[in-house]
């Protein structure tokens, strides 16, 4: 049985050496810019005309759209930016903690 940490280390060193070899190969064969055409999937995307390829921003836009209801909940119900809203959650949690401490902490006669 190999220790997962040692395994991770072996993997890390291998990946590092592999990455260095790859970097050398890329550096030697580099031709300045990529020649492939940017792929357009047909959906409305942010402007990436100044980038070499479709960016992580566009990929992330798709993820945000997929998770839109959850993201919207986080932004509009939890992280509203209004301190009164924050207090209501913080105090509610403090109240729960106090109730738990009283119920659990009291040694009933």
């Amino acid at each position: 049985m190999v220790d997962p940490g040692t395994l991770g280390l072996i993997f890390s060193v291998t990946a590092l050496v592999g990455g260095l070899i790859l970097a050398v190969i890329v550096a030697v064969t580099k031709r300045g810019v990529r020649e492939t055409e940017p792929y357009l999937c047909g959906e409305s995307e942010a402007d990436f005309s100044d980038s070499i390829s479709p960016s992580a921003t566009e990929v992330q836009w798709g993820l945000e759209k997929t998770l839109s209801s959850w993201v919207s909940f986080v932004r509009t119900k939890i992280h509203t930016g209004v301190i009164d809203d924050w207090w209501s959650l913080m105090i509610a949690w403090a109240a729960i903690l106090l109730i738990v401490s009283v119920v659990r902490g009291w040694v009933w006669p």
């Binding site: 890390s12 990946a15 070499i52 960016s55 992580a56 992330q60 998770l67 932004r75 924050w86 106090l98």
Partner: protein
């Protein structure tokens, strides 16, 4: 030999505070910014050396105890430094040195340099004092010292509306928290008649009879109730300080509003104090008290769940951010959540993972904020879209941001990979497999968020010419932290043992108590 180390431990925090308060007096004589830069860097170097030497001493010789002013406990204040607090102290000292050196470039000749360093050294004194103290009331004082310094530092850019609003919100929440902690101290003193951590732990451990309360001397039920309420109130306060859901709201506003070196100190180090206090209270002080066993279990389980919720909510918020500093601030909430969950497990594996992850997160997050600060200053904007091609103008900062992000996501060979591996193992061993899913999902969301930054820096063409360049000392600070996160990963087999023993020291209640008793006996000439 022992006395020398004790004196060094005792001198560090007061020396930092004295050095901080000396700066306003120095402004009466000179306004030369360069002087304050060198002065603060020298003091920070002393603190770094002192904290590292303290850690080395504790590793070699065991828990170190120092009686302030020769006053012995429970009346006097003591510093009691075990491996856990010594390690966190060493991390704080060394990262603060990098932050201070970097500040020289970041602030330049800004008019408020003297006040900045007053508060920065005050912040470091407060953090180290909180980590080293063996007295729950002194912890309150030190929490106030570091918090008040932090409020001032967040409001440093006081001519911007964002900084003023963030500092106001932060100070309101922070001051409420410390006041509630004071209330918790009343319950502790009322129940046990002492404020010394080892003394409380001792009375808790021998609480079968419990004729120990000052105000409720003969009622074990009331003592356990008092201890239970004190623990609940303290947990809430420490969750605020460590920014764990649902008490984390101040952080994503406060940390981005502060100057970037301060953001690094707050996100990488400040939150650790809250996590440290949670572990110390739940495991070392109250962990052995049969009267509130069920309370400790209930609070620990709630902390485990909320840590997971914290990670998911914060990582979700990360993917919607277009402000680089706000993105990183949410990442802090995510990581403190994971660490809090590991602490809540109460197992040696959990504490080992928490200790390791606190360390890798501290170095990685400080590096990320310092790098982000350099990018923001060079490119003139905090928005990701304006950082296009930043690697051309700030190559070290861009490389630092990339490696810090990789470490925080949990990619090898950086320290973050191994500390997350330890987290996985701890959760699986404790039967909390769902937390592994939480780590994976939150890390995947964080990866998406960091991809925006990496892509913008490395794969977009620069939009404008950047007139400013990062100076050599600032680059040196970032390079030191880069080496730090690599060393924390690559040297995993060699350094692993230190995290295991540091984490285990929190669970060693008897060791903590006996160290104080031994020191007391030795102080009165009874031998060690």
């Amino acid at each position: 030999m022992i006395v020398w180390y004790e004196q060094l431990l005792g001198a560090t925090v007061p020396a930092l505070m004295a050095a901080a308060f000396l700066i306003p007096i120095m402004t009466l004589a000179t306004k030369c910014a360069k002087l304050y830069h060198y002065y603060a860097s020298t003091i920070a170097a002393f603190a770094a050396l002192s904290t590292v030497l303290t850690y080395k001493y504790v590793v070699d010789n065991g828990t170190l105890v120092y009686f302030f002013g020769g006053w012995f406990p429970p009346v006097g204040i003591i510093y009691e430094v075990d491996q856990f607090s010594a390690l966190l102290g060493a991390v704080t000292g060394t990262v603060m040195l990098a932050v201070t050196v970097y500040s020289r470039w970041y602030l330049g000749d800004h008019e408020g340099v003297a006040w900045y360093y007053t508060m920065l050294l005050g912040l470091e004194a407060g953090m180290l004092g909180s980590l080293y103290t063996g007295d729950v009331f002194n912890l309150f004082v030190m929490l106030e010292v570091m918090s008040v310094s932090a409020y001032g530092l967040v409001a440093y850019h006081r001519r911007t509306k964002e900084a003023v609003e963030a500092a106001l919100k932060y100070s309101l929440i922070g001051a409420t928290a410390t006041t509630i902690y004071f209330l918790a101290l009343l319950f502790i003193y009322g129940s046990f008649g002492t404020l010394n951590m080892a003394d409380i732990a001792l009375r808790v451990s021998t609480s079968a009879g419990l004729p120990i309360g000052r105000f409720v001397p003969q009622n074990p039920g009331l003592i356990s109730l008092g201890a239970s309420i004190a623990l609940a109130l303290s947990l809430w306060v420490f969750m605020v300080k460590s920014a764990v859901f649902p008490t984390h709201f101040w952080l994503p506003d406060a940390h981005p509003a502060a100057p970037s070196p301060v953001s690094a100190a707050l996100s990488g180090l400040f939150v650790n104090v809250g996590l440290y206090a949670i572990a110390r209270f739940i495991h070392t002080i109250f962990g052995g008290y049969s009267g509130i066993d069920t309370t400790v279990q209930a609070l620990s389980y709630s902390l485990l769940i909320l840590g997971g919720v914290s990670a998911i909510i914060a990582s979700t918020a990360m993917i919607t951010q277009y402000d680089i500093k706000r993105l990183i601030a949410y990442s802090t909430v995510m990581h403190t959540g994971l660490i809090a969950s590991a602490i809540a497990l109460g197992t040696p594996e959990g504490m080992y993972a928490a200790t390791y992850h606190i360390t890798t997160h501290a170095v990685g997050k400080a590096l990320l904020f310092l790098s982000a600060g350099a990018l923001v200053k060079v490119m003139g904007s905090r928005y990701l879209s304006d950082l296009s091609g930043a690697q051309k103008y700030a190559p070290v900062a861009s490389a630092g941001a990339l490696m810090a992000a990789m470490s925080l996501i949990g990619l090898p060979p950086f320290g973050g990979f191994f500390s997350k591996l330890a987290l996985y193992k701890a959760f699986v061993d404790a039967g909390q497999v769902w937390m592994v899913a939480v780590i994976l999902v939150s890390s995947a969301l964080a990866l998406m968020a960091y991809m925006k930054l990496v892509h913008t820096m490395f794969f977009r063409l620069p939009k404008t010419e950047a007139p400013e360049r990062v100076t050599a000392p600032a680059n040196a600070a970032m390079i030191a932290l880069i080496i730090g996160i690599i060393v924390l990963g690559v040297l995993y087999p060699l350094i692993n043992q230190y995290f295991i023993t540091s984490g285990a020291s929190v669970l060693d209640r008897l060791g903590y108590i006996s160290a104080a008793v031994r020191a007391l006996t030795s102080y009165f000439g009874g031998g060690a």
